[in-house]
């Protein structure tokens, strides 16, 4: 197996050095560059369970498992750069890594600026609340109450749309970091936090203090991986999509879905037209 671990910070830094030298020398095709240097560099955020996070001090999650397979398929080593969310998309544009393994919600606005892979998870919005809080039993119950969401996330945008459709809108508080927002459920400053269902379902499965409010609300959305929107990145995108299709066909995708979501997830097999 290819080595597929989080390297120590100093190594990452040195790795960054070689990447840039490579990036400045060859501006041709990202996929052939990746193959010739034998390494695919993924930008992500290790704050995003169950996609990317630290499990007992080790990088784990659905992305990790998926890209391990990508590494095997392409015959390259996978390296990760861990960034705060506000730095992830600027970093991609500045060619600091080959693609975002985030994953990122596929939206119309973002599709104008970036290319997305086939959907890799459902990103529909639902609410997380304190376990046993009977004041919020369905999404509409947030009317007039304080609710948190991640700043700059599409889930926050959906929450705002949903909130204005209510008789009294909710009082929306935006957090730089989803986990700070979850903390606020415990402090009581918000009654619930809106985020994508896979994320909050995982939080609720790991922490006995939380519970998911069903059903999801808003429009159906999906997560995808992101590449730069240029001809150099098209072959990489195609390779990733081919691997997604292949892994769906041979059951590997279902295995990692069951591992991280608790059950298989039915996803569109073609590129979707985003509803938001």
């Amino acid at each position: 197996m290819k080595t597929n671990k989080i390297v120590t910070p100093l190594k990452i830094a040195l790795l960054g050095l070689t990447t840039v030298l490579a990036a400045t020398s060859a501006q041709a095709d990202v996929l052939s560059d990746v193959k010739s240097k034998g390494e695919l560099i993924i930008g992500t955020e290790l704050h995003f369970a169950p996609f990317d996070f630290l499990d007992n001090g080790k990088h784990a999650g659905l992305n990790k498992d998926f890209f391990t397979e990508v590494g095997k398929e392409l015959g390259v080593k996978i390296s990760y750069v861990d960034l705060p969310w506000p730095s992830v998309l600027p970093g991609l544009e500045a060619s600091k890594f080959d693609m975002v393994g985030g994953p990122v919600t596929i939206t119309k606005e973002r599709m104008k600026r970036y290319n997305f892979s086939l959907p890799i998870a459902d990103a529909s919005v639902a609410l997380l609340k304190r376990k046993g809080n009977s004041a919020v039993t369905k999404p509409e119950d947030i009317a007039g109450k304080p609710v948190g969401a991640g700043k700059g996330s599409s889930q926050a945008a959906q929450l705002e749309d949903f909130s204005t459709s209510l008789e009294t809108p909710a009082e929306i508080k935006l957090y730089v970091d989803n986990n700070s927002a979850y903390s606020e459920i415990m402090t009581g400053r918000v009654v619930a936090v809106a985020n994508s269902l896979p994320n909050i379902a995982y939080v609720a499965s790991q922490h006995k203090n939380f519970e998911v409010v069903l059903p999801p609300f808003g429009k159906k959305t999906y997560y995808g991986y992101v590449t730069r929107k240029n001809t150099d990145s098209e072959s990489l995108l195609k390779a990733i999509n081919d691997i997604i299709v292949k892994m769906k066909a041979d059951g590997r995708m279902e295995d990692i879905q069951v591992k991280w979501f608790g059950n298989p997830m039915d996803l569109p097999t073609d590129m979707i037209v985003p509803q938001i």
């Binding site: 600027p90 544009e93 700043k151 700059g152 508080k173 730089v176 700070s180």
Partner: protein, 222 residues
Amino acid sequence: MTFDIQVIIDHLPEIASGFGLTILCTVVAALIAMVLGLFVALGLMSKAAVFRYPVRLYVEIIRGTPFLIQLFLLYYGGPSFGLYLEPIEAGIIGLAIYCSAYFAELFRSGFNSISLGQLEAAQIMGFSKISVLWRIQIPQMMVLITPGLVNICIILGKETTILSIVTVPELAFVLTGIGSETYAYAETLTVLAISYLILSELTARFGSWTEKRLSKYMERSI
């Protein structure tokens, strides 16, 4: 590369209110921090060890840990101890506590530089301890420490970028938000840099103006 100034113009009201909030937080926190710092400085110079040591520990802990962590613990940890603060309150109080430790050290060095003979003379002439402090020690000290005060105020102003972690809609919060909505990263970062440059320059100018005025006042009074 495109540089689209229109994005900034479209969001000018938001940016202005963010900048206003940044200035408000800086000024209010600086004023509270100075008052708090004065008391902490008096504690640091106290002759009673039971008083001096805890205050010294306070100063060392505050100066030895990042503001980001202090603010996080204050805002998100406070409620566990029944302390519920609004984001702006937490931001201002956090900043004031953080900077009070720096001000305290500065005040202490200022106090120490005033000659003892002068204080004794004042006491013999019948000034009370409070009026010695207020009329003799503080004015002289201010002249000495103004450059240091300005430095701390500049640092304090820049630390306001961290208030975004507790959802205070200050300038950095507003501009990074606009950046991620419109992908105009270069434009928003440029505005952020220029705004802070203006803020720091104004603080520095105000400092040298005060310095000049104070030293004139000192000459006259001597």
